[in-house]
Symmetry: C2
Subunit: 149 residues, 2 copies
Amino acid sequence: MVANTIEFGSILHSSGYKLTAQRQALLEIIQDKKEQHLCTEEIFDEVRKIYPGIGLATVYRNLQLFEKLGLVHHILLEDGCMRFQIMDSPGKHRHHHLVCEVCGDVIDVEEDMLETIEKKLLSEMGFTVKDHKVQFFGICKKCAEKEIK
Amino acid sequence: MVANTIEFGSILHSSGYKLTAQRQALLEIIQDKKEQHLCTEEIFDEVRKIYPGIGLATVYRNLQLFEKLGLVHHILLEDGCMRFQIMDSPGKHRHHHLVCEVCGDVIDVEEDMLETIEKKLLSEMGFTVKDHKVQFFGICKKCAEKEIK
DNA sequence: AAAGTAAATGATAATCATTTTCTTTTACTT
DNA sequence: AAGTAAAAGAAAATGATTATCATTTACTTT
């Protein structure tokens, strides 16, 4: 499931892009920190550890490119920066995010559970859904348990 | 259903805020342009027509205040600015947005349709949902009909 | 394997939405 | 009508992101 450097290389090449050391380093980081929804600056800080010379503009540029190629996707929370994640199964609808209002954690939910709604939107409103972005705000399990004590 | 100036006045007063001419003008505009998901700059341009002296910072400040008071809410699309709307029924979960990828229109969907999912998130993951943000991307009815022709 | 070329990078400046600061004005209280 | 804290206006500051441009590099062609 997890794509390796060679795969990334062929994805880039087949679209006419070059596989640079910077791009490899970036993809490695994003893949490693899969569960953490890192923002651009955070990715920049991480990637510098393995490729110290990299510039911030390169990070921005390539995250955009990776998203265009379907390798990563981003979410917008309320903190005013883009947070990126590896796209686990290209073509599938985006997964949902649970944002805990207490601890700030962002939890991924792989299950879609929106088919019924999307069918309804088509039949009742004539709107064909191609993708969605869903965020739930509330209290995560950990924080709910702490509150009881 | 539609709150008038007097209501807004008492909402502001009861929370210790003053009812200024600028705030009235702002609320009028946001109420008038209910369907339009205006961004801050657009609201600024509109409000200047009825209150020419208003400053942009005042618009930003008050939109923030109105949101805190539950009078308006905002969405974040991909254009990098906040878009505001009057909150029709305070306390209720936010409504969903259908974003047409062809014409860019944003359509409101008042029906919630997420109860089943939210129950599942609680029972299976222990996550208590307080609110949600849901955007569907796709093709609206109008654009779908045009395509056929 | 060396040369050629377009793409990619790094550094820095520019941009754009939003926030902050600070002085002046105004809404509401006494 | 006077007093006061909140609000407004103007402008500077901030922070994320994008654009510019000279230099470097990945990959192609010889």
